[in-house]
């Protein structure tokens, strides 16, 4: 059909959609308002903000170089001598005489990195797969549905492989490293994102303005890309926040199995925690610091994510 006509249709759809877009807009505003009221959201936001700040400024705040074994001669792990907190080392020394405080600060960045990258991997790949599936299922006709079935079934199967096995084999291929952890954790999240995006896209696909667009014969690709997709991302973004928390924890688990980041210069909390497990009897503090850091950070993201989810929950909206 002629572009002119398409243009007209576009406007028509926009007309049908605007009403709801306006609503969505106000919904976001509403949810922000609602979140400002919820202590949960505030706690989460504060924690996350702090964490991010530390992560970004880390190397500049840290009093010492994280990898320098400056006090190496003062630590004797084989004689259980671990100098604890003192003026020059607020958190004491780790098992190789490195400043624990500096390592914690620098560690924040690595931890954030793992979380974000892993989540991105899961998000992008998952969104892609889920998007394709949904698009195919809705507009691809018979074969599209077949394709969707195949994709989603394989997603189910992917869910069947224990994330850990996956991680182990990734690690086996890449050798233990930060990227290993990122990839392993990220890949494990793909199915979740795939299902989520597909779900919300299907919901959109049946909404009035899309039906209108179809009725008006707008090219399907166009509908999907410029209408369905943008409107379906909300829940997926929320999920991403939550996955960030999981990613950080999973990363810790992998480090515990010795797949963590080997580079002494860029410590990561999971690795630190895993290392410290060995000294639980002699120097529990070495485990406590990173453990608490991990838990609090993960909690921060979880709180934020949960708050977002609740504030976006349509069932909650209804009452307003």
């Amino acid at each position: 059909m002629t572009t002119a006509k398409i243009e007209k249709l576009e406007r028509l759809i926009e007309a049908t959609a605007t009403a709801r877009d306006a609503k969505t807009g106000s919904l976001w505003r509403q949810s922000i308002r609602r979140m400002r009221r919820s202590p949960m959201a505030i706690c989460g936001a504060v924690i996350v903000a702090l964490f991010v700040i530390v992560a970004v400024l880390g190397p500049w705040i840290a009093p010492y170089e994280a990898s320098a074994q400056t006090w190496g001669k003062e630590v004797f792990l084989n004689r259980n001598i671990f100098p604890g907190p003192r003026p020059e080392n607020w958190f004491g020394l780790d098992h190789l005489g490195r400043d624990m405080f500096s390592r914690m600060i620098v560690g924040a960045r690595q931890t954030l990195l793992v979380g974000v990258v892993a989540t991105l991997i899961g998000f992008l790949a998952g969104a892609f797969i889920g998007g394709i599936a949904a698009a195919a299922g809705t507009f691809g006709g018979r074969w599209g549905e077949r394709l969707e079935a195949v994709i989603m079934r394989s997603v189910d199967v992917a869910l069947a492989i224990p994330m850990l096995l996956l991680a182990l084999s990734v690690a086996a291929l890449l050798g233990p490293s930060l990227s290993t952890v990122m990839i392993a954790v990220g890949v494990a999240q793909i199915p979740i994102f795939a299902r989520l995006l597909r779900g919300s896209m299907l919901a959109q696909a049946h909404s009035d303005y899309v039906l209108a667009a179809i009725a008006l014969g707008v090219p399907k690709a166009r509908i999907v890309v410029s209408h369905i997709l943008p409107n379906s991302l909300g829940p997926v973004i929320v999920q991403a926040t939550l996955v960030l928390a999981t990613a950080i924890i999973e990363a810790a688990a992998l480090s515990y199995l010795g797949l963590g980041n080997p580079d002494p210069g860029n410590p990561e909390w999971g690795t630190m925690l895993a290392d410290a497990q060995r000294f639980l009897s002699g120097a529990p503090q070495l485990a406590i610091y990173p453990a608490v850091a991990i838990i609090v950070t993960a909690l921060g993201f979880t709180l934020l994510g949960e708050a977002m989810r609740e504030s976006l929950d349509p069932r909650l909206r209804r009452q307003e």
């Binding site: 069932r315 909650l316 209804r318 009452q319 307003e320």
Partner: protein, 379 residues
């Protein structure tokens, strides 16, 4: 004296007042209508009488004290879903969900599911057989609900439990209030279905709500409501969700029940057609108050309150020529002024005069009462 005497019933959700001093009475074997646009407070009235409103501060506090000395202050913090001491007693009798019923009230009240605002403050009196239902302890109220007074709800699908066979949903009332068990209960349930005009009841008993048609579901709800031969039946928009043809049948059914059993029926509707068809007396509600109350014929013959006139005006009529335009009411129920400042309807009234907004208009005249200072001029 009448079977149900509602006196100066007030229901407030926090700051917002949904029902603002409503009084009316229902005699045995009579059908009384509560009419008004959605949001005028008619549903809230019915729920208040049934004691199905989430408990609000005032009563919660009292209840709290009476239960386990929980201080009101704490109780206030708690949400509407029986989350107070009643909740503590595992009290299922205080459901949150009247989203459908009142969520749209002009004041934007949220008694929605998951709302964590305070519940309803109910005051006034609703004497059933001389007993004030509003002050009955929950347990006692539960014994009466479903037995002495029963209710038929608006949306038959959502009002039936999707995962329980309809038979069970009927027999559980029989068990609870008439102590019928097993086969007895089933037989009785079958009779009920038969009475409400469902063919092949024994098969239907085993079926689930989603397997029934809308009409049948409504009949099932009615069967549940009349299962224990209640003396008062409250029907909240029982026909709104149904096709016109079915509507007629359901109304017929209700009428028969009233006639045969002498049950009193409180019919809540926005549909004057229904009123005309079934009611003996009508109370027109506007913004939480009765603005006109009269025997049905009087009302239709001589509507007094401009609002009533408006309502009647907005029904299509055959006896007028097709070119005669309908006369809808201006504005929406949202534009109101508070009753104590004047007539809440004033903003939408074509006959509005200065007097309308000089203080609170009173309900005058009987049996045909109205709440309009301009009544004489209009008449």
């Amino acid at each position: 004296m009448a079977l149900l005497e509602v006196e100066d019933l007030r229901v407030a959700f926090g700051a917002a007042t949904a029902v603002d001093g409503v009084s009316f009475a229902v005699d045995e074997g009579k059908v009384v209508g509560l009419v008004g646009e959605s949001g005028c407070g008619k549903s809230v009235t019915s729920l208040a009488i049934m004691g199905l409103l989430p408990k609000g501060k005032g009563r919660k506090a009292r209840a709290a004290k009476s239960r386990n000395g929980k201080v009101p202050a704490q109780a206030e913090a708690t949400g509407p879903e029986g989350t107070g001491p009643e909740g503590a007693a595992g009290d299922g009798a205080v459901p949150p969900g009247h989203g459908g019923a009142v969520a749209a009230t002009p004041q934007g009240i949220a008694v929605g599911r998951r709302s964590n605002r305070g519940g309803a403050d109910v005051s006034g009196r609703a004497a059933f057989d001389g007993v004030d239902l509003l002050t009955l302890p929950p347990a006692a109220m539960r014994r009466r609900r479903g037995a002495d007074l029963a209710m038929v709800f608006q949306d038959p699908l959502s009002s039936l439990n999707p995962v329980v066979p309809v038979g069970r949903q009927i027999t559980e009332v029989l068990e609870r209030h008439r102590g019928l068990k097993g086969d007895k209960a089933v037989k009785e349930a079958a009779n009920l279905l038969d009475r409400v005009g469902i063919p092949d009841p024994l098969r239907r008993l085993k079926e689930y709500p989603h397997q029934l048609s809308g009409g049948m579901r409504q009949r099932v709800l009615i069967a549940i409501a009349v299962a224990c031969a209640p003396r008062l039946l409250i029907a909240d928009e029982p026909t709104t969700a149904l096709d016109v043809t079915i509507q007629a049948q359901i109304l017929e059914l209700l009428k028969d029940l009233v006639d045969s059993e002498g049950t009193a029926l409180l019919m809540i509707t926005h549909d004057l057609g229904v009123v005309a068809g079934i009611c003996d007396e009508v109370n027109v509600l506007y913004s939480g108050r009765v603005v006109e109350s009269a025997p049905v014929r009087d009302l239709f013959a001589r509507p007094t309150h401009p609002y009533t006139v408006g309502l009647l005006g907005s029904i299509p009529r055959l006896d007028l020529g097709t070119h005669e335009p309908l006369t809808p009411i201006r504005g929406s129920i949202a534009d109101v002024i508070r009753w104590k400042d004047g007539c809440a309807f004033a903003p939408r009234c074509d006959r509005v005069a200065p007097a309308c907004v000089e203080g609170e208009p009173a309900l005058v005249g009987a049996p045909h009462a109205h709440r309009c200072v301009m009544a004489e001029e209009i008449a």
